[in-house]
Amino acid sequence: MKPASILIAMQQKESIQQIRQLMQNSGYRVAHSCHSGNEVLQAARSMAPDILIVNETLPDFQGLDLAEIVIEDRLCAVILLASPAQKSFAEKKMNAAYFVCLTKPVQGTVIETSVEMLLRTSRYFRQLEKSLSKMEKTIQDRKVIDKAKGLMMEKLEIGEEAAYNEIRKKSMDTGKTMSEIAEAVIELLNKE
């Protein structure tokens, strides 16, 4: 697997330098470091990093607002460095699969562990989400095909297997998916 890439957003040059060093020592690639939120939004969209490490305040953005956009738009997972007061609020608001909030001051080893953990959970969740949407699609397709089959059985007076075979054959002949064929069948038979 290619080394995970990290985006860092801090106002202070020194903080960026520290975290950059830490990440590189742990074998990660630091894709870019930003001083402002707008820079983060552009970088996160064009560089597809795995994790954003962001301070709670930036000159133009609150770190939490930024984290929200980055996670909602599925750009990457986020580690927010915040005050203890903000931590509980932030964690309630965000999807835990893609988000970790660490309270400042934070130790290097804690950041390292968090990055490692977040990489695992976020990748795992991404996988889950992918298979979930695939499953939803399959169920949707099956519903359409069943409906088309039902219509064909009723209107054309053929058996279930014949209806299914007909849809499958048309699908193979035309290079279209079975659900596309089924939709066309439904439209056609409903018109008649």
Binding site: H35, G37, N38, E39, Q42, S46, P59, D60, E68
Partner: protein, 443 residues
């Protein structure tokens, strides 16, 4: 888009876990206002019992008559797709009513509704398709917008990705999710300038759509670290942003501007409508081009109109008739810009066109050559007049027009002129960078 009833809205809010509903309306200057309510207050709002203090809003009322009621239009219900699923946000566009149950005369939506009713009495439906242009600019380190275009890769460069293109693609996807039919979306002539066109609709829907469009464009730009502006002419020397407005009337489901046997296949009504627009164009300018900056766009050389004429080919006049005929026959009004209040702009344009039809006006002959290449004498000979040169002239033209006064209603007419006069005065008395550049050293 779907037509929803009150019950449908309640059901959708429940099913889709919407937590907040924004009740939206527009002030006379075209700024969208929001009253946010929670879902538990929704039923009350849908029963037209939601009250707000109108005295704090531009162009509304005096303190002693400040209570106003919002009447949400259920058919405008839409969820904002960029908000999280679990704490969803939706909006409803509202009409503004007075405590006595009468429509509030300072509500721009109400102004458009009145003119649409008048058109309906004459048997017409007014359809409008807008072409909105805007700029996407970089922000500086502190989040303030600059006039650097993204294309020039401003203060930092990430390589080959065009952030503007990326943002515009997201805007189109989200607008489609919100029920818009996007007809075209492209990069414009000027650097950093973009255009998104959506399908024509009945005028009220289009005006609502324009308001929605503006907030979507701004919100998505922000999520891309960019600033979107509908300012008509942000940069001297390159094209400004217009809002070309494609208009047609339909009668009994048929396009009333199309007549296969008419000259250029246009109907008598189409010509009368054009004549009405040309006659009232100067008077409506303060509405369709409402800012000091609007008039920096209306200068020769940048695809913006200056002269009051119409053409089937040339793009220099105020009105162009696009090639399409049949059901797509339409009149393209080229002077409005996106800083206008769309409700008022469509109301005055329709009123002007209807006036042309009612009075049986005839337009001057169409112009096929480029008016910018004519000298003044030729223009005079062809009696081609021009648009107001600045906001002050436009306000004066507006003041003189009885049709505008009648269309906007006395209340809004007066407040609008008052607000715009203040705007002009503050511009007139300010010392601008241009003056310092020119005079500071010389004198």
């Amino acid at each position: 888009m779907q037509k929803l009833s009150k019950e449908d809205v309640m059901k959708q809010v429940r099913e889709n876990n919407v937590k907040f509903i924004r009740l939206q309306f527009t002030d006379i200057l075209g700024t969208m206002k929001n009253v946010a309510i929670t879902e538990s207050q929704l039923e009350k709002a849908l029963n037209n019992e939601c009250m707000f203090d109108g005295s704090s809003i531009e162009g509304f009322v005096r303190i002693e008559e400040s209570d106003m009621y919002l009447r949400p239009d259920p058919s405008t219900y839409v969820e904002f797709p960029w908000r999280p699923q679990h704490d969803g946000v939706a909006r409803l566009i509202c009409d503004v009513y007075q405590p006595d149950g009468n429509a509030f005369p300072g509500d721009p939506r109400n102004v458009l509704k009145r003119v649409l009713d008048e058109a309906a009495e004459m048997g017409y439906t007014f359809n409008v398709g807008p072409e909105c242009e805007f700029f996407l600019f970089q922000k500086d380190e502190n989040g303030y917008p600059t006039t650097e275009t993204h294309d020039q890769a401003g203060y930092f460069d990430l390589g080959p990705v065009d952030h503007g293109e990326d943002a515009r693609r997201d805007m189109c996807l989200l607008l489609e999710e919100m029920g818009f039919e996007i007809e075209a979306s492209h990069h414009e002539v000027a650097e950093g300038q973009h255009e998104i066109d959506f399908k024509y609709e009945e005028a009220m829907k289009t005006a609502d759509n324009i308001m929605t469009f503006k907030i979507v464009v701004k919100a998505i730009a922000q999520r891309h670290g960019l600033h979107a502006t509908f300012m008509p002419k942000p940069i001297f020397g390159i094209n400004g942003s217009g809002m070309h407005t494609n208009m047609s009337l339909s009668k009994n489901g048929k396009n009333a501007f199309y007549d296969p046997d008419g000259a250029l296949e246009l109907s008598k009504e189409a010509y009368q409508f054009i004549a009405g627009i040309l006659t009232h164009a100067k008077a409506m300018c303060a509405i369709t081009n409402p800012t000091v900056n609007s008039y920096k766009r209306l200068v020769p050389g940048y695809e913006a109109p200056v002269y009051l004429a119409w053409s089937t080919r040339n793009r220099s006049p105020l009105i162009r008739i696009p090639e399409a005929r049949g059901n797509s026959t339409r009149v393209e009004m080229r002077h409005p810009d996106p800083s206008c209040n769309p409700y008022l702009a469509l109301a005055v344009a329709l009123a002007a066109g209807l006036d042309g039809i009612k009075k049986g006006m005839e337009p001057p002959a169409g112009v096929s050559e480029n008016i910018y290449d004519m000298d003044e004498a030729t223009r005079k000979a062809k009696s081609i007049d021009s648009l107001p040169a600045n906001l002050n002239e436009a306000i004066e033209e507006l003041k003189k027009s009885s049709l505008m006064k009648e269309t906007l209603g006395e209340h809004l007419f007066e407040r609008y002129i008052e607000a715009k006069t203040i705007e002009w005065d503050s511009f007139r008395t300010a010392v601008h960078p241009w003056e310092l550049d020119q005079y500071l050293k010389r004198y």
